[in-house]
Symmetry: C2
């Protein structure tokens, strides 16, 4: 049932249609220079036999692969999955296939950059939502193809992303504008990725400074990404002498975990403690979590668009650096600072 008679080749189709392979090729590829009648005949024979061109052979001869490599960590997380979905959608519509490479953990990542499994397999690659290190960047040049970044700050590549600093400011400034001064931050890092200066962290410090609020190191905790870790981090925060009246979490997942801890401690949200996240994860709506919305789909589509531009013209597109806006979404997890008892 699997293997049947040998697959037909373009030569067979040509013969069956009574034309030369060249003409058959042109007809099948919708290339110019074929009489309408001839083309019609060829096409008829082709789909009569359910024949399709072999993309590999075609690509080999034409010098392209018709594939784009997607390098992404943590495909199982909302942010990355959404990004990938958007990119795939645009690329697919353009007739391009997507080769997926997961660099979720350190080993995968090292493996990828060391062996570059995508070599000679793609016409371009998109690094999705993670910062590429200098050494890695050098390896990537070996691919000899265009590279664009989706959802991450990468001065070195054409990219589409948000401004993490601004997003952070929108979150923290919101808390400040509500009168909060004892504002804590749960800083989230990815244990599987190299540490980098985060715009979301910088936003916190500068926002406080701009508001004339003295920084309090005790109000800043760092934890690994994820809800459970957020919960643990919040517990650390609450175990200290000075209790914050508001919490700024680097992401909604982390915020979700923090919310659980807050409630289990017997405190109310937002009456006792306000909390704000970043991302506008679908879960945020269910949790009534105030957050900063970032357009993930748009970032993905924009990045895919860059790929198409790069492939079309060999000249770089005009907008190589696309920064999409974020905005605050106020729900029920934040309120004015409670009166001091």
């Amino acid at each position: 049932m699997a293997a049947s008679q040998r697959n037909l080749t373009i030569a067979d189709i040509a013969r069956l249609a009574g034309v030369g392979v060249g003409t058959a090729s042109r007809a099948l590829n919708n290339a110019p220079g074929v009489a309408a009648a001839t083309r019609k005949r060829v096409l008829a024979v082709a789909d009569q036999h359910a024949y399709v061109i072999s993309p590999d052979a075609s690509g080999l001869a034409a010098g392209r692969t018709g594939r784009i490599g997607l390098v992404v960590p943590h495909i199982d997380r909302w942010f990355f999955g959404t990004m990938v979905g958007a990119i795939v959608s645009v690329l697919r519509a353009a007739g391009l296939d997507v080769l997926l490479y997961d660099v979720g953990d350190l080993d995968d990542r090292r493996e990828f950059f060391e062996h570059l499994p995508a070599r000679k397999k793609v016409d371009a690659v998109v690094v999705v939502a993670f910062p590429v290190e200098e050494a890695e960047r050098q390896r990537l040049t070996l691919l000899g193809v265009h590279i664009v970044a989706a959802g991450g700050q990468h001065a070195v590549y054409p990219h589409a992303c948000i401004d993490d600093y601004l997003a952070g400011r929108q979150a923290v400034d919101h808390l400040i504008s509500l009168g909060h001064r004892a504002i804590a931050m749960i800083e989230a890092v990815d244990p599987e990725q190299p540490v980098r200066p985060s715009g979301r962290t910088a936003a916190y410090h500068r926002a406080l400074a701009d508001a004339g609020i003295a920084p309090d190191p005790h109000l800043v905790v760092t934890t690994n990404w994820g809800g459970v870790n957020g919960a643990e981090a919040m517990a650390r925060l609450l175990s200290q002498s000075r209790r914050p009246t508001a919490v700024y979490a680097h992401s909604d997942e982390v915020a979700a975990g923090a919310m659980r801890t807050i409630r289990r401690t017997g405190l109310r949200i937002p009456e006792d403690i306000s909390i704000v996240g970043i991302d506008d994860h679908p879960m945020a709506e269910l949790l009534d979590l105030t957050t900063v919305h970032q357009p993930v789909d748009e970032q993905g589509r924009a990045a895919a668009g860059l790929v198409l531009d790069l492939l079309r013209n060999d000249t770089p597109p005009v907008d190589q650096a696309i920064t999409l806006p974020t905005h605050l979404v106020v729900r029920r997890s934040t309120t004015s600072v409670p009166p001091i008892p």
Copy 2:
């Protein structure tokens, strides 16, 4: 910077190493029949020039692609993303590449099965977590490659999945064992997919019947997948005369939405209403939601394993139908039926 001198071919490497193309090929492919010294020399030249075999040319000549097609809806959702991640991980380790096809919405899906973009591009395909219809199954035959299903009931293909009926029973039986009799069900369907009889639904009806509980149509509501829809469905449930003491939701996301509605209504979980979901989504832990755990990673890995088996031996593997066990995870969203006031 992108295009440099022509890429080296295996002929170049052969010449540089002072051997014939045949020998170079064998050496590069780790094929037998090459003197250790010779092989070493070829390999040296190769990586000295950062040369790698062209997979496309190689595949063309050898008659394989080295790629596996993944057909998956909703890559942005936890369940699907996790499944894909697990599959990719196993396949990658086996040196296989993954071509990703998203069939999230009806259009994509029709498009996929109509044009079969994966034709002549893959050695096998994995349909991830969605039921293939008969007509689609017929189209898939045209691919002429092995097909396996990951996470879905498919008698027709080798597959790895859970037993939805049993999972449902574990959830509903749990509620029944706690003394609940007014048990509601929020049935979730995917508006983008054809409706099918669901094991999770069957479980509900039979569990009640087995417990001698009279079915009450008012206690069953159907909604589209997703948290917000779950919230809306719960609202419908609460707007009726007979209020359930427990709710069985088809998935954790739906349950999460329902929980919000319950709380907003002023009712407490689990004191006033117990609720149980299915999946053990990471969010469930943060919500203290009792649920039925299903091993998504394992399903993905098992499915990928089937692919490898199928590719290796052409004889079907022994276990073509792998069913992984699920288990109840009791948290704080369920408790004994409240005393009737």
